[in-house]
Subunit: 434 residues, 2 copies
């Protein structure tokens, strides 16, 4: 006996059993179809990019996580997100794109992180972005929330809340405190508010040599949760950037109302910062209210300059990404993914008369049903066992009796109810009630 | 001004403009939906595998083409096909799979070939396989042809022919000529028949020290194109393997008739060999009759042992792969891909009344239409220009007049015809005629 090779996937690399894969695809397809219904077009860029393209933006932790390889003279790397490929794509094809450019991209990205529960090295992201040539009206910032609202409503994962902030509010506030230079670091610390709580944030900021009085102001500021607009106005801050942010936030909120996004599905949360330099206006996070431990399932924001590393054009945009593989994993952990079918087929068709069975199967497929033909020499009982194992909704039996009687037997595999169907129309009616 | 980084994709790596991408996705979705209608389940294995997994089967040219990389202690490689990952997957998850296991996999694979016209380093394959535990009835060999027939009928690329052969016919024939040891090499040479023609094949075989008389027999054999079964029977070959192959072929042809595959869509072609050791029975190639220069667009066959490198189980299977990226490229070259829309949206909705427009858009989306909202402050004319550039089928105008009159204007962008629609039902009726 020869030595067999390990068939386990690499640590941090996912693959699903068929039933899980079908459940995963259902979520992926729901997200994609919402994106498409809002007129986003699909992109599909190479998984491999030139190293210099990816390293231009990466830096720090991300850079260490990039999978690099060489082939011949070429230095290649696997993409670590879908934003850098978008920036490269828009730079490369600028003259042939139509702006505002609305694209979605649902695909795998790669990060050589230390594998741990719920963190993966190969994982799906589901991104949308709207990129403009010139100005990008704020109505787009609101439409992104509308799309998030539609996606998570259709995913039916219970109540969810989009948390909104605006980087100008934060930057202006810190400028007003004469803490502009420290703002990036403070924001990075504040970003952890949900994870480590107010007391620890306070200590971290003290360690950063921020005056106690200012820390109190900062903590009070990021803790404003109700009547936020009014409270912000009441602060009476004179900083121009701050007031620009306030005005933008009011405008976006007003559009959200027009878009019909229910007020219970979004809040202004001044503790949301989303990274450091990239975002310039609105920022988003999304939480499933019953599963706060999952963290943000959909995040993003507005940026002033998508293509800075690759082009001299200044292209503003706004977008969000759903961390799809991580979301699916967390939903599985929370018991929210129902896995009961190892097939997407609707019917297993049992027959030994191939000609008659194939004709019937064709007719049913033409009506949109997925059919597995069990036409082979296996015993009837074995075929029924297969139907049960697969979890098909129904079985059709087309035996000698049926063919002689010009009908077929159609059995609901859940209830056990069985009818004699004379034609496809009757079968469709029966199937529509399963 | 800083030095900008090249934004071109790497040689051999494809990316499409939105209109091309939509055309590509349409083909991909057609193939996928046929696969699903036959009850194949989707798989999605990691792009990165352990090097040892890929190198176990690769060998020769393929091995040189594999993209390898290392990260930490791990030796990784990018998959070069979808069959090796299937073999690994089935070995790993054997106990949790339901047999016969019908899976499809439409995904990118990687080969570091020298880039040339129509050959890519990253490209899509669209595979189906039926893998059995124990025996796999021949009816499956025929069903694969039925699926190919459905796919290429739905793709609507003109007439096509599935070329069928059986490796046992070839192996038995060569055994009968006492050329078993040379069979692999002869088959490799014969596989080039379409490309280099009979005379060159003859010379290559002579150079191989095959007796002239046997070469004539071989060339006559692979040239049988009509009444093939009868001609093969008339050869009266006593070899057991040959007669097993003949019997299998007759059985498969009989099933094809039962499946309703038109006789004009398949032929027996004894010159088809498909590689060397892997296939053990039926083999397939598929050609578009009007575009023979494209070569085979869908190939595969039956194998006796899928998982030999990874498991002691012997799992026979049958499957085919469509070289999707290559097919799309060739169809573009042949002018068969119509590219006219840079969006998949049906309607651009022009309005300055966000509240009314968003409500209407929601109603239309609920009916399955994809809508881009042009709600921003841009001028009306600019919005219409956008509609034309994108190539949306229709524009809705919801201005002050429309809102006051309780209707919306709906314009066919091709004919210029415009109606006043009172509700979504009227709009749907108008759209269904575009």
């Amino acid at each position: 006996m020869k030595d067999k090779i390990s068939t386990k996937t690499l640590p941090g690399f996912l693959e699903y059993l068929p039933a899980e894969q079908l459940a995963f695809n259902k979520i992926k397809d729901t997200i994609t179809s919402v994106y498409e219904s809002y007129g986003f077009v699909p992109l599909d860029t190479p998984v491999l990019e030139r190293q210099e393209v990816l390293l231009a933006k990466a830096g720090g932790e991300t850079e260490k996580q990039i999978y690099c390889l060489e082939k011949g003279d070429e230095k290649l790397a696997l993409r670590f997100d879908l934003t850098v490929p978008l920036a490269r794509y828009v730079s490369e094809h600028f003259a042939n794109l139509i702006f505002p450019f609305r694209r979605y991209h649902v695909a795998k990205v790669y990060r050589g992180e230390r594998p741990q529960r719920g963190r993966f090295r190969e994982f799906y992201q589901a991104d949308i972005d709207i990129v403009a040539e010139g100005e990008l009206p704020l109505i787009n910032d609101a439409e992104i929330v509308k799309v998030i609202y539609e996606v998570f409503t259709k995913l039916d994962l219970g109540r969810f809340t989009v948390r909104l902030n605006n980087r100008k509010l934060l930057n202006g506030f810190f400028a007003d405190l004469d803490l502009s230079r420290e703002a990036s670091d403070i924001l990075r610390i504040i970003d952890k508010m949900d994870k480590i709580g107010r007391n620890q944030i306070q200590e971290l900021l003290l360690a950063f040599e921020i005056e106690a009085e200012k820390i109190t102001k900062i903590l009070n500021f990021v803790s404003i949760k109700e009547n936020v607009i009014k409270e912000l106005e009441a602060l009476n801050i004179k900083n121009e950037i701050f007031n620009e942010g306030l005005s933008e936030m009011k405008e976006v909120i007003s559009y959200l109302n027009d878009f019909g996004v229910p007020a219970e599905n979004y809040i202004i949360d001044l503790s949301i910062a989303r990274g450091l330099d990239y975002y310039t206006g609105t920022v988003y996070e999304t939480v499933l209210n019953q599963y706060p431990q999952i963290g943000s399932v959909c995040s993003g924001g507005r940026y002033g300059d998508l293509t800075g590393f690759y082009s001299d054009k200044k292209l503003p945009g706004v977008g969000v990404a759903i961390g799809l593989s991580r979301l699916f994993y967390q939903l599985q952990e929370a018991g929210l993914i129902k896995i009961n079918q190892a097939t997407s087929a609707d019917i297993l068709l049992v027959s030994e008369n191939l000609k008659a069975a194939a004709k019937l199967a064709d007719e049913l497929r033409a009506q949109g049903l997925a059919i597995i033909g069990a036409y082979g020499p296996d015993k009837f009982k074995k075929k029924l066992t297969l139907a049960n194992k697969l979890g098909v909704k129904a079985v059709i039996i087309l035996g000698e009796d049926e063919i002689a009687g010009n009908y077929f037997s159609l059995k609901d595999m859940t209830s056990g109810e069985q009818i004699k169907a004379k034609n496809v129309t009757e079968a469709l009616k029966f199937m529509s009630n399963l």
